[in-house]
């Protein structure tokens, strides 16, 4: 007799579902094999213990189906639907964030990378208000300065700012072709911190000497950062 067959007979024996012939066949099998007898004996012990009504009630409680939490009780289809909905929501949010960022970048790109500032020469002792520039959002600041026409071979400029900031420009030539009258100084915008600046321009004479040609004042402003 196969093990499965013996087990079916064992189950049937305690279910009371065996014919007289099957029952005798089963009892013979029990005496023929120790494993089957052991299984039978365990079932017999359990069956007799379960005849006690109190114990039976305790066992019923112990094997009672656990309460299913609300979300666990959902069918798999609902859980899949929820998962898909969540994924769609995340995707929509991601697209929204991406588009918002793209729009901001488009606006940012619309701002010229170079801020061109024409400066007006200041008279010594003048109380005229300084030219104030806001350099935030630019990569380069280009200072345009009018210079006297045809007096000098070249120019040298010194930019000074708050503290010890100083930057020198050598061998500057007026731009704009023949008759050009302005110099261009290009500066990385991030070098210019908020504060007052002066540009001193020296002209190189034909004899090789340098003499003051012009002076400019301006102020740099920065957006206040929120703390």
């Amino acid at each position: 007799m196969s093990r499965d067959g013996a087990r079916q007979l064992l189950t049937g024996y305690f279910d009371g579902g065996l014919s007289a012939g099957q029952r005798q066949q089963f009892l013979d099998a029990i005496l023929a094999g120790q494993d089957l007898y052991n299984a039978f004996a365990e079932e017999a012990v359990l069956a007799e213990l379960l005849q006690d009504a109190d114990f039976r009630a305790d066992v019923r409680v112990a094997v009672a189906a656990p309460r299913v939490p609300f979300f666990e009780g959902w069918r798999h289809g609902w859980r899949w639907a929820l998962a898909v909905a969540m994924a769609a929501l995340v995707l929509i949010l991601a697209i929204g964030v991406y588009r918002g960022r793209s729009q901001r970048e488009t606006v940012g790109d619309a701002i010229p990378a170079v801020l061109t500032i024409p400066l007006t020469s200041t008279e010594r002792g003048s109380n005229a208000p300084k030219h104030a520039i806001m350099v935030d959002g630019y990569r380069t600041v280009r200072l345009l300065m009018n210079v006297p026409e045809g007096l000098y071979r070249s120019y040298r400029a010194t930019l000074r700012g708050a503290g010890s900031f100083e930057r020198k420009f050598h061998d500057l030539q007026p731009r704009g072709g023949p008759g050009a009258r302005h110099l261009e100084l290009d500066l990385p915008a991030n070098l210019l911190q908020a504060g007052d600046y002066t540009v001193e321009v020296l002209g190189a004479t034909a004899s090789g000497g340098l003499e003051p040609a012009a002076g400019y004042d301006f102020a740099v402003m920065r957006k206040k950062r929120l703390k």
Binding site: D4, I30, Q34, Y37, A39, F40, V45, E48, D58, V59
Partner: protein, 163 residues
Amino acid sequence: MDGPNTGALDAVRVRIVGFATYLGCGDDAEDIAQETLLVLHNRYPEVADSGEILKLSARICANLAMNWRRRKSNASRAVEIPEATPDPAGRDPEATLIDKQLQQLLLQAIRQSGERCKELLRLRLSGVKTKDIAARLKAKPSAVDTAYFRCLQRLRNAMGEVR
């Protein structure tokens, strides 16, 4: 040993020794089997059905084995029943007490068992037949039987651990 069930007792003795060994009685399995047969002969002389004899022998052997194990591990925990104690239900008082202990152990083991085992026990306890359990679980009856006996095996092992 006299009586109408003497032949059946002789036939089942080998299996009782094997069962006592299976329950962990080792070298004392022979003694427990002998005691099982004595109890069977003395207390149930009228039982002649071989199926009933086998069931009774299993129950008596299990009780004796359990008490033997308790006596072995801790003598103070062994059940000692005075001979003169009357049993109002007409049953053996020692067996009754051991049954209670077995019930507690089994209950504890069931609580610690897996959901699959509990489900099978729940269905069996409700009187659902194997083929119906198989249909409900969409499994073969043989698979249900196998799972059920594995469950019983685990319960027995768990009972051994909690003793």
